[in-house]
Amino acid sequence: MKTMSAMKVEFSYLRRQFGQARRGEDPGRFYTDRIIEDIRDFVETADFTLGEKLEEFESKFSELVGVKHSIGVNSGTDALILSLKALGIGPGDEVVTSAETFIATAGAIAATGATPVFVDVNDEFIIDADLIEQAVTERTKALLPVWFTGNAPDMARINEIGTRYSIPVVEDSCCAIDAAIDGRKAGSFGITGTFSFHPLKNLNVWSDGGMITTNSDLMNEKLRLLRNHGLINRDEVAVFGVNSRLDTIQAVVALRMIDDVASITDQRIANAAVLDRAFSELPGCIEVPSRAPNVRHVYHLYMVRAKDRDNLLKHCIENGVEAKVHYPIPLPYQQCCRHLGYKRGDFPKTERDCGSIITFPAHQYLTDEELHYIIDVVRAFYGDNWR
């Protein structure tokens, strides 16, 4: 394998989105100047905590997702923790979730004192709805399906199971802003939906940030109390809460971008389609998961399975393509899960994935040249094997 002509395709697009690189080059996409102007005005109002701009952002986010209420919190992780707490989940309870996800999904369950119960995934890295029922016990207090990579769980099935056993469904839709099944948005299926605005999400702020969506007036009321110390008003406290507010200054940032979420997402989908087509021509080397036509997969992560993954990863990095692995160690086998007693073999698909998955850049700022470079680098790695 030869080293290819030097080009750098970064995984993070934040410099292009906000940094100097594209100034002048592509002013339409250049948000920073406008946001800084907004912040200049905002700083003078000093409306820093649970301010008007946050309310404005919450209501626009409700419109985007198609729900009654949105509650801004400090992070996607906190969106999960507070959702579970608002449902009264705590020590002794179990929450069923996916074995293949970011650590924070399970960390949120553990943070309430409850026990995460893992379920293996299907071929699309998504919780296998067929396996959920056998994980349900008398102690199960919530189902927590994950829209991992920006792809959809079978929400109809999962809601049906939840209804049958009277167990609420909380969506971990942190990766899935603007994702949908048959036009119905992620975050509108469960009792709550949870979102992250971490800088690498398709709607991103300049720090940690999160949001909870719900159609339930009761949950809305509880969550607003919980995120703000349980304060009913300045002086009276209904319940012990926490401090987990989305900074109003970050709502100012998000308001500049929320109208562009659909077009940002469309661009990622288009990029993913280009990669899908090219990789489908490498059977036996790259396995592209099937793509359900009724799902709007938003490709927070563009992930495929690859033969000889570790060497492919190394080859990509050496050639300037910043590929990644999300994630190399199955969550149930992390040291922090040791007390849960899982062992190798319990999650065959997750295990297979952890050894074979690779994530390529597919973000909205990739140029055609860069996309083709990614494809070329991958093709070169497999050489004649794919012909």
């Binding site: 800084i36 400090n74 992070s75 960390g107 110390h229 012990f240 040291q335």
Partner: protein
């Protein structure tokens, strides 16, 4: 005549706005929004300022307390001793780790009364959280003595007290760790929520760094459950700008407080000036039996005031399950009826201070024709 609001953050931010925006711009250009250099730089500067080895930036003062307790392994079945007159978050962070808050009454200085602490210690007690309320340092020597004798952790709640000094030592450097809030209403304030923990304990520092970042040891491995509670890089950059001005602001607040003490000391009960200690006057709290009337009078005259806090924590609905009753903490409960916070922020002008003084004085002069208000400070001074 212009009103004097209780707080006026705009006056703080207008003169330093350009500097703040430059700092924000620097973060944007680097696009390093999560942890990274700006956070490390701020942490280092805070550690230097507080004279500790380490500082760890987190999402809020509440989380600073919560994560400190977590890092020391305090949880279910444990008891933590603190005061009932603090902001709610002191107690709720104890509840959040699963432990039980055990309250101790306060002294005249509104801080924990060390004399009452020892009898509250049980076999389940793991920690004491003294609160440097209003920015006045707690009498830490007896607290540390008791803690060491009983092998208890001391977590200083210094949320209101950045820069305060006890016998020449900065608060946050005396106990096992110190917890600070940089909420917009604090003297060192972010443009959003923010907090920091100071400590000399390397193990604690390492646990906190992991706990605040979802338990991650590195990008792929975690050996403990954690949380997402990171100080935003943008807020760190803003705070680094403001830290330069902190001592200036504190000195201005101290001078405002001194002015009030001089000119109101004969009229109403004012706090003591702190002697050799350095209180930083997050709030300036006077006490009077005619509190509600005085507050109304000031309001009518365009002067904003606040009560920190009118309902003690043990009497909140949220604390019901702890089983406390009215009368359990008489000093704290009495203060809740008499305390009133006057504006004391660094931007106040001499004219504004005079207006506050005159308005308070005129209220009592009118009253004193019929009612006699106890003049405790004057009496004390005469002793």
């Amino acid at each position: 005549m212009r009103n004097i609001p209780y707080v006026d953050l705009r006056r703080q931010h207008v003169p330093i706005k350009d500097e703040i925006l430059r700092a924000v711009g620097r973060v944007i250009d680097g696009a390093a929004f999560i942890l990274g250099e700006e956070v490390e730089k701020f942490e280092q500067k805070v550690a230097e300022y507080c004279r500790t080895k380490y500082a760890v930036g987190v999402n809020s003062g509440t989380d600073a307390l919560f994560l400190s307790l977590k890092a020391y392994g305090i949880g279910r079945g444990d008891e933590v001793i603190t005061v009932p007159n603090s902001f709610l978050a002191t107690a709720s962070s104890i509840v959040a780790v699963g432990a039980k808050p055990v309250f101790v009454d306060v002294g005249d200085d509104m801080n924990i009364n060390p004399d009452w602490v020892e009898r509250k210690i049980t076999r389940s007690t793991r920690a004491i959280i003294p609160v440097h309320l209003t920015g006045r340092p707690v009498d830490m020597d007896p607290i540390m003595r008791i803690a060491r004798a009983h092998n208890l952790i001391v977590v200083e709640d210094a949320a209101q007290a950045v820069g305060a000094e006890y016998k020449g030592r900065k608060v946050g450097s005396i106990g096992d760790c110190g917890c600070f809030s940089m909420h917009p209403l604090k003297t060192l304030n972010a443009c959003g929520d923010a907090g920091v923990i100071t400590t000399n304990d390397e193990n604690l520092r390492n646990s906190l760094v992991q706990l605040r970042n979802i338990g991650l040891k590195n990008r792929d491995e975690s050996d403990t459950w954690g949380y997402n509670s990171r100080l935003d890089a943008i807020q760190a950059a803003i705070l680094t700008v403001k830290l330069k001005y902190l001592d200036l602001w504190i000195e201005q607040r101290r001078s405002n407080a001194k002015y009030y003490i001089q000119h109101l000391g004969d009229v109403v009960r004012v706090p003591e000036d702190g002697g050799d200690d350095r209180p930083v006057w997050h709030t300036f709290v006077i006490q009077t039996e005619l509190r509600d009337e005085l507050q109304g009078h000031l309001e009518l005259n365009g002067i904003g005031t606040r009560i920190h806090y009118p309902i003690a924590i043990h009497l909140q609905r949220a604390a019901k399950s702890l089983g406390y009753r009215e009368g359990d903490f008489p000093v704290c409960e009495r203060q809740a009826q008499t305390i009133l916070s006057l504006p004391v922020y660094q931007e106040l002008t001499r004219d504004e201070l005079d207006r506050v003084v005159d308005t308070v004085t005129s209220f009592f002069n009118a009253r004193n024709r019929s009612v006699s208000e106890p003049r405790l400070v004057a009496a004390k001074a005469a002793e």
